[in-house]
Amino acid sequence: MQARSTGAIAVALGIVAVGLVVGYETTQISLSPAYSKVGPKAFPTMVSVGLVILGLALLWQAWSGKWTAEEEDDAQPTDWRALGWLGFGLVFNVALIGILGFILASTVLFASVARAFGSQRPVRDLGIAFVFSAVCYLGFVKVLGINMGAGVLERLF
């Protein structure tokens, strides 16, 4: 028997939980009496039942060690530093895009992603990121007319 993977068990439980949430939310859909036969609840009910059953099946597979899923390489454990940099970039972006504007928020996002992918030249990355973001802004907003919101630098254009 193979070793159990706690991660796989957690994922299976997560799927069961999503199924239960879907089921609970389905009961909250108010029903108009005109639709008695197949209303807006029928499909959500099927989805909920399906997710719970599939989640339980995966739970059984994970528990009995048939599904460890972590692919081949234990030689390369998850790189939490890289994920940390990526997470920082994403959170910074969502938190400050409304205040600083697209160009500055994207510059920081780009540079953090580059860092996450092992780049050791933050100054060069920030420079490239700034030029790239500004060109994107001009291209998408001024040429294609997509609204990217206002910001500190955006007002200058």
Binding site: K37, F110, A114
Partner: protein, 496 residues
């Protein structure tokens, strides 16, 4: 009007300067994203969906079709020179193609891949041209019950049959269907699964889900795994001209690959991986030099590449005739139809004849452009491969931000994007397929609609699905697709 007449009319549409330009932009962009690891046609088309608000439908679909075909060509270049398949359908190409490049025969490998793609793409487009009207005639007999059963068959095959685990595939599919159900129910006006968030009343945008899974999720996965930038790019030392022996070993493989790829792609199951595997094993069996397989046999590049491109044309058959997408890319193209208020289905060929035939004609034109772009200009694409991973993925995430924040300038959309990105990361890590999420999300609500229609006609009698012969046949096929591996295993065990 006969098929050829309609095709001629389609060429009239596709050959206008504006549409030639769209096709050109499409194939160039498609080749570029096909070459780049980490970017695929589904993600690119999703990012370009906002164009549907500004450009006419014909132009947009010619652009999307160019991207779709171009990505198939570009993917093979990466597989051959980098051994990192750009697309899942070109994994097989890497087997022999990369070995050929290592032996200094990269030029011949690129040539047989590009010419084979052209031959197969043209054969596949011919198949599409003549098969589409036939399928439409047949599909006009379908009622809601048959449609629902057909969708069940497609659901089952794309999630349970392809991929490593039927259970994980189905879980991905159900998750996608649930995402598709979020928002106001069109028939009753009831809000479903909105959790009190106003932004969710309109439903979850497919752009956010596709970008979340394919851009954010993929980037997180690669960063966490250090799966980037380790492979060297092999230089092309030999000429791109194939020798007489190369030609004689390639042309039969191209034809066989096309004949395998197109029908499999055109089935409601779809998928380009299966035909490439099949073609590889058939070529290995038939080859006069089977000992070369594993060390760079040219048939092992020619056949699977042809199968890959022919199946790409095949996938367009159920998409354009039945409104049935069998790949993530096709599902996103279907949502573009919806954004124009066009109902994809058997009526499409009649109501939007110019659009569909213009699209098909543009595929012939695009194939010629792709052959030119990918053979003499291959050096240009190799340069794209040299972009360092940190900058490439930084750029991809900035594009992801533009694609989502540009929809409504709402931070909720970005938060949703990252949530789905996180889910995409877990799905990659725990080996769940992601395409069923997109297909379930687009096709799920359509299936629900057909189901409720069928139930209204049958006055709530579910047995209608089993008493109509065509519907029953489709459901039996779906059941067989799921159960046959188990039955087969049980039968083998019982025999021994």
């Amino acid at each position: 009007m006969d098929t050829l007449g309609q095709l001629a009319q389609g060429f009239g549409v596709a050959l206008t300067p504006m549409n030639i330009l769209w096709s050109f932009v499409g194939v160039v962009l498609g080749t570029a994203i096909g070459v780049l690891p980490g970017l695929g046609p589904a993600l690119t088309i999703a990012l370009l969906l906002p164009l549907t608000y500004k450009v006419d439908a014909t132009g947009v679909f010619i652009l999307f079709a160019g991207i779709y075909y171009g990505a198939m060509y570009g993917g093979s270049t990466t597989s051959i020179l980098l051994n990192t398949p750009g697309e899942s359908a070109t994994i097989i190409t890497a087997l022999e193609g990369n070995k050929m490049a290592r032996r200094g025969r990269g030029g011949a490998a690129l040539a047989t891949a590009a010419i084979g793609s052209f031959v197969a793409g043209t054969i596949g487009t011919l198949g599409l041209t003549f098969l589409a009207p036939i399928v439409v005639d047949f599909a006009l007999k379908f009622g809601p019950a048959e449609y629902f059963s057909l969708m069940i068959l497609a659901f089952v095959t794309v999630s349970a049959v392809l991929g490593n685990s039927a259970i994980r595939g189905l879980a991905a599919l159900f998750f996608g269907i649930w995402l598709g159900l979020i928002g106001v129910d069109l028939q009753t006006g009831q809000a479903r699964f909105t959790f009190g968030i106003l932004e969710l009343l309109d439903g979850v945008n497919v752009i956010i889900v596709a970008v979340g899974l394919f851009a954010v999720g993929e980037t997180l996965y690669l960063a966490a795994r250090h799966r980037y930038g380790q492979d060297e790019i092999l230089p092309v030392k030999d000429s791109l001209w194939m020798t007489r022996e190369d030609w004689s070993r390639s042309w039969k493989a191209w034809l066989r690959g096309s004949l395998i790829g197109f029908p499999i792609g055109a089935m409601p199951a779809g998928g380009a991986e299966v035909p490439t595997f099949l073609s590889y094993f058939i070529e290995k069996k038939l080859s006069k030099k089977p000992e070369e397989f594993g060390h760079g046999a040219i048939e092992g590049v020619a056949g699977p590449e042809a199968a890959n491109n022919a199946s790409a044309a095949g996938v367009l058959v159920p998409m354009l005739t039945l409104g049935l997408p069998t790949s993530a890319t096709a599902a996103i193209m279907l949502s573009a139809f919806q954004s124009y208020g066009i109902n994809p289905g058997p009526q499409l060929l009649m109501t939007q004849g110019n659009l569909v035939w213009g699209l098909i004609a543009s595929l012939y034109i695009g194939n010629v452009m792709l052959l030119v772009l990918n053979l003499p200009l291959v050096g240009l694409w190799v340069k794209i491969l040299a972009i360092p991973a940190p900058l490439l993925y930084g750029g991809i995430l900035v594009f992801a931000t533009i694609g989502t924040y540009g929809i409504s300038q709402s931070p909720i959309d970005l938060i949703l994007l990252y949530l789905i990105g996180g889910i995409g990361f877990l799905m990659r890590k725990y080996d769940f397929p992601t395409a069923p999420v997109i297909i379930g999300m687009i096709l799920g609500p359509l299936a629900e609609q057909e189901f409720r229609r069928a139930m209204t006609i049958a006055q709530g009698d579910v047995t209608v699905l089993f008493t109509r012969p065509l519907s029953l046949t489709l459901l039996i096929l779906a059941a067989l697709a799921v159960l046959s591996p188990y039955i087969y295993r049980w039968w083998m065990r019982a025999r021994s």
